[in-house]
């Protein structure tokens, strides 16, 4: 029992037709991020620093949907959000509506450490970033060709699909370009790009931390906030556990998913694995999502009811695993 543990994710809900090279690329990135986290843990960095470090790496790489490589709003712009939480005193920080901040998770950390508040958004958050001297770039920096293409497909798909009600596994209407029948948040999985990123860590002292970062839903309305910056929904950490979620944001919010894992451990006495299983099985109504979690005892777990989740985890006793399905 005890020892450090770390898990990372790059999103729940993977297109079963995703080309092999993309899967390998994703696994390489997850491995690299795990290595960065492991190295930091071996140097005795506290959990809160490790999650920030790892999520920065995920934001900087354009592969997943955060920082560079973020999904685009209906206007073709990027609006990013993130949150971070430190288990021991449940301190937290969150940001939304960022358009020029290179690493949203670090701004969330600054909100936690340098302001009397927990959550800053849009112009106010950008102003705070400027005052703090964090690295700022043009909104263009975050936009990748891949996502410009995806946005176009999403708009085409939306003109076929009538509403965004929680999807059942049914074939979507005519779209010839869209091969997979799986839908999430009303979009075919091939364009959905749910790849929010996150990291949870418990360090040698048993301190848990969690961080989540995302560009949000492809083709979202400007100003739309999802689960990632909401404490208790996309991110949560307390004395017992650290959790980061990904998937259909609205479903994660309704089920306050991250808090749920901790609540069943706290109030029902379930252990980490039981809690994760229970929450995924019984608390998601028809929503599709996944999560990673670590406990203060050095355990790590992940659960998802989607087709696949990009994830990786490692523990101090040498266990390490990276997976997609």
């Amino acid at each position: 029992m005890g020892g450090w543990a770390i898990a990372v994710h790059g999103g729940a809900g993977v297109d079963p037709n995703l080309p092999k090279e993309r899967q390998e690329e994703a696994k390489r990135l997850l491995t690299r991020c795990l290595d960065i986290g492991i190295s930091a843990l071996r140097s005795n960095l506290p959990a809160i620093d490790v999650v920030e470090l790892v999520v920065r790496e995920l934001e900087t790489d354009p592969l997943f949907n955060s920082g560079r490589g973020s999904a685009l709003t209906e206007k073709g712009t990027v609006e990013m959000e993130a949150s971070i939480m430190d288990g021991p005193k449940r301190r937290c920080g969150a940001v939304s509506g960022l358009t020029t901040v290179k690493n949203p998770v670090s701004l969330a950390r600054l909100v936690m450490d340098k302001t009397p508040h927990s959550y800053l958004a849009f112009a106010g958050a950008e102003e705070f970033a400027r005052k703090q001297g964090v690295e700022l770039v043009d909104n263009q920096y975050f936009i990748t060709e891949d996502n410009v293409g995806m946005l176009k497909l999403a708009k085409e798909a939306n003109s076929i699909l009538f509403d965004y009600r929680i999807p059942t596994l049914s074939t979507c209407g005519g779209g010839a370009a869209l091969e997979s029948p799986i839908q999430m948040n009303g979009l075919p999985i091939s364009v959905y790009a749910p790849e929010t990123v996150g990291c949870v860590v418990v360090d040698k002292e048993g301190r848990c931390a969690a961080a989540t970062s995302t560009g949000g839903l492809m083709n979202k309305m400007t100003g739309r906030i999802g689960d990632s910056p909401l404490i208790g929904s996309g991110t949560y950490a307390c004395e017992l556990v650290g959790v980061s979620c990904t998937g259909e944001g609205e479903a994660i919010i309704r089920s306050t998913l991250a808090r749920e894992v901790a609540a069943v451990m706290e109030y029902k006495g379930l252990n980490l694995h039981e809690a994760v299983d229970y929450v995924i099985k019984y608390r998601l109504d028809e929503g599709k999502a996944g999560l990673i979690a670590v406990s203060k005892n050095g355990e790590v777990a992940c659960g998802f009811n989607t087709t696949g989740m990009f994830r990786g985890c490692a523990t101090e006793d040498g266990f390490m695993e990276v997976g997609v399905w």
Binding site: G97, P116, S118, I253, D285
Partner: protein, 320 residues
């Protein structure tokens, strides 16, 4: 069983010496809003409609910190936020950074019903309000002389406090600033259940006096300031940052469910676990029970049940 309704106009450091000219209009406001809610329940309106209606009334009342009468940001502007949730379907809606929409709670409801999203903020929320044809006005409509004065006093106190570029304690020093001792923490909310056990909650606020521009509190964060499921409906008020960390609204329902305790015990348990002086909440259960605990000096509140019971209070026993 029967219907039940509870409303609040904010928990905080409300001094026992609150002068009548500050106390009476708020009591009258609570009374009137309660009556609006009771009439709507008697007319068999769905609790979701009832809570929206009541919160609209509270927003329009200039003495509560929501809608007109909202406290001001550090720039002297108004940034309102609100959320609403239906206990049966678990559908919810939230808005933040609203500066021209007369009734933020109605905008939150429209987000819930007319978009695929739950939460819209700032420019995006304002644009959506216009698309939906909601009533919008100049921001000055919401600003009251009381709040201009509150901001001035808070800013004067800040000159003595540590500035924002250094790490500060999460618990900022009590604002000794306000000479009239009026509550600086506030929010409005309403929870209701009909005689079929349908639950709903709605919360609305201007936020924290002198808050940083762009600061979001607990009110629009589902699970923090607002939550409803098949067991109970909750609306919280107080220090947003503490309510967020404590996932207060969600925890009341979770504790009831997972520990198998009553609404009253669950609510008291949750309030006990947030730092003293930071929070209060109102909640009703699917079986028509009501409790309104707070760990602040006072909480403007009122409630009523179908069997004829009703109450309006500011101080008195903290676990009701």
């Amino acid at each position: 069983m029967g219907w039940a309704i509870a409303i609040h106009g904010g928990a905080g450091d409300i001094p026992l010496s609150l002068p009548p000219e500050k106390r009476l209009p708020r009591e009258a406001g609570l009374r009137r809003c309660l009556e609006v809610g009771i009439a709507a329940l008697k007319a068999r309106n769905h609790p979701l409609d009832v809570v929206e209606l009541v919160v609209r009334e509270l927003e329009n009342h200039p003495n509560f910190n929501a809608g007109k009468g909202s406290v001001l940001t550090t720039s002297g502007t108004v940034e309102m936020e609100a959320s609403i949730m239906d206990g049966k379907t678990m559908k919810c809606g939230a808005v933040s950074g609203v500066s021209t929409v007369v009734n933020a709670i109605s905008l939150a409801r429209l987000v819930m019903e007319k978009t695929p999203h739950i939460y819209l903020a700032f420019d995006g929320a304002e644009a959506f309000a216009r698309e939906q044809g909601l009533e919008t006005v100049e921001m000055s409509h919401f600003i009251t002389p009381e709040n201009i004065e509150r901001l001035k006093q808070a800013q004067e106190a800040d000159r003595v406090q540590i500035d924002y570029t250094q790490p500060i304690q999460k618990e900022t020093p009590k604002d000794a600033a306000v000479a009239d001792g009026d509550s600086q923490i506030g929010t409005v909310g309403c929870v209701a259940v009909d005689n079929e056990g349908n639950l709903a909650t709605a919360t609305s606020t201007g936020g924290l006096v002198n808050k940083m521009v762009g600061r979001i509190g607990d009110t629009p964060v589902i699970g923090a300031g607002t939550y409803a499921n098949h067991l109970c409906a909750v609306s919280a008020t107080g220090r947003g940052e503490a309510i967020i960390r404590g996932t207060v609204a969600r925890d009341v329902a979770a504790v009831m469910e997972f520990k198998g305790i009553s609404l009253k015990e669950a609510a008291a348990y949750v309030i006990d676990r947030v730092p003293p002086g930071t929070a209060g909440l109102i909640t009703v259960s699917s079986t028509g029970e009501i409790t309104m605990p707070f760990n602040t000096t006072g909480m403007f509140r009122a409630c009523a049940t179908e069997d004829g019971y009703s109450e309006i209070a500011i101080w008195d026993s903290p676990s009701k």
